[in-house]
């Protein structure tokens, strides 16, 4: 039974669903077209080349948006919007850098801006359409437990203010350094540390309270 694990900074998930189908094709594409090549082709006017980038990163970008926004519908909408915005800024992207991390920070910033314009806090425990990425579809009990764990953690994250969510997302799910977070969010180093430590404290309390 494979469970989805994520190391700090690099998500190595075992992904099912739409992405599974594309992944097999993607591995072929990888041999033929690296991200850099696809970006160059996109800049040359090939929209389908950007489509291949979307295929590769749509699940991870969707999960960034889900962790930030808390509902599947909003996450899907914002993930799509994030790709469109990234396309508009592709001419500014340094093609010597990896595309994935940059794409995920675009998504994070988009979500943060959206959250700051809206004060709604969503409880993803109510978003019952979640399904995890796991190969163990034959063990509903495991999937149920993982669903509950994921909902619990997402629920705790979604109770945080938007700026706390953003630092948790960038540090723990995208593996950015303090300096990189400060740069992406336009904060001082001290502010990043303060937000991060307070966010962790809050998260710890909420998760601990749920466990009791």
């Amino acid at each position: 039974m494979d469970t989805v694990c994520k190391g700090s900074g690099s998500h190595l998930g075992n992904v099912m669903g739409i992405d599974q189908i594309h992944r097999n094709r993607s591995s072929v594409y990888m041999a033929e077209s690296t991200d850099q090549t696809l970006i160059m082709r996109t800049r040359a006017g090939e929209a389908n080349a950007f489509g291949q980038l979307v295929q590769r990163y749509q699940t991870s970008v969707f999960n960034v948006c889900y962790r930030m926004m808390g509902t599947r519908q909003e996450a899907e909408d914002l993930a799509q919007e994030a790709f469109i915005r990234a396309y508009g800024r592709l001419h500014l992207f340094d093609n010597n850098r990896p595309f994935g991390p940059w794409m995920r920070t675009v998504a994070t910033n988009l979500c943060l801006n959206r959250l700051q314009r809206s004060s709604a806090i969503v409880d993803p425990l109510n978003d019952i359409a979640e399904r995890l990425t796991t190969e163990d579809e034959g063990n509903p009990e495991t999937v149920t437990v993982q669903n509950e764990d994921a909902a619990r953690i997402h629920g705790a994250i979604n109770q945080l203010p938007p700026n706390y969510r953003a630092v948790i997302e960038l540090r723990h799910f995208q593996g950015l350094s303090y300096e990189e977070i400060a740069r992406e969010l336009g904060l001082t180093l001290a502010a990043v540390k303060t937000n991060l430590y307070r966010a962790r404290k809050e998260l710890g309390k909420r998760l601990h309270a749920h466990d009791e």
Partner: protein, 212 residues
Amino acid sequence: MTNDNMSEQHVDYTTLNEYLDQILPPEEQMRIESHLRACATCRQQLAELESLFSTLDQTPELALEVDLVEGVVKAISTPPQVAQGDTSNLSISWLLIVTQLVVSSTLLALVWPSIRRAASSNRLSDFAETLSSGGTKIWLQITTQWQQFSAIVQTLIDRGVSNVNSNTLTTTIWPDITLLWWLTMVIILAIICIAGNVWGLPGYDLKNGEGK
């Protein structure tokens, strides 16, 4: 099992975070490790923080149930069109331009007679005619000093000029400076509005995630 070392202060929460994030200087890192070996309370706090890190690291990702590729490729392939909202913004912009032009024209109409009077070099002939009709010859001494109007009138009366009033005298004083100032501001604003509509005003730009 070691006992709490009460001779040292406990590690504060911020330092514990920095220790786990490995951003402390090496000597500080070693000092903390040394303290942790001796202090069960701090070890407990560290363990809770580590547990939180682990929980976040192992948060399962959700499967994406829709394919974003088609929507994104369609959006980036479609030429930009003026949307409903854009049309209304365009209407507002033209309304502003027309308003600017009307206001500036009105102000210009108000100050124009003054400008004409000031710019005219022939009004003096009327004055000269008035002066001459009385059979009185006046020698006007040109001075760079500003004078009160009443002083000028008195000087002329003293010289025997009758029927001296503001209608028979002309001045080189510019029209009301306040009116001119407003006119200038309105014209500048009109130019900015027109330029903004022709070349496009800078729009709100989300961070592109690339950093500085």
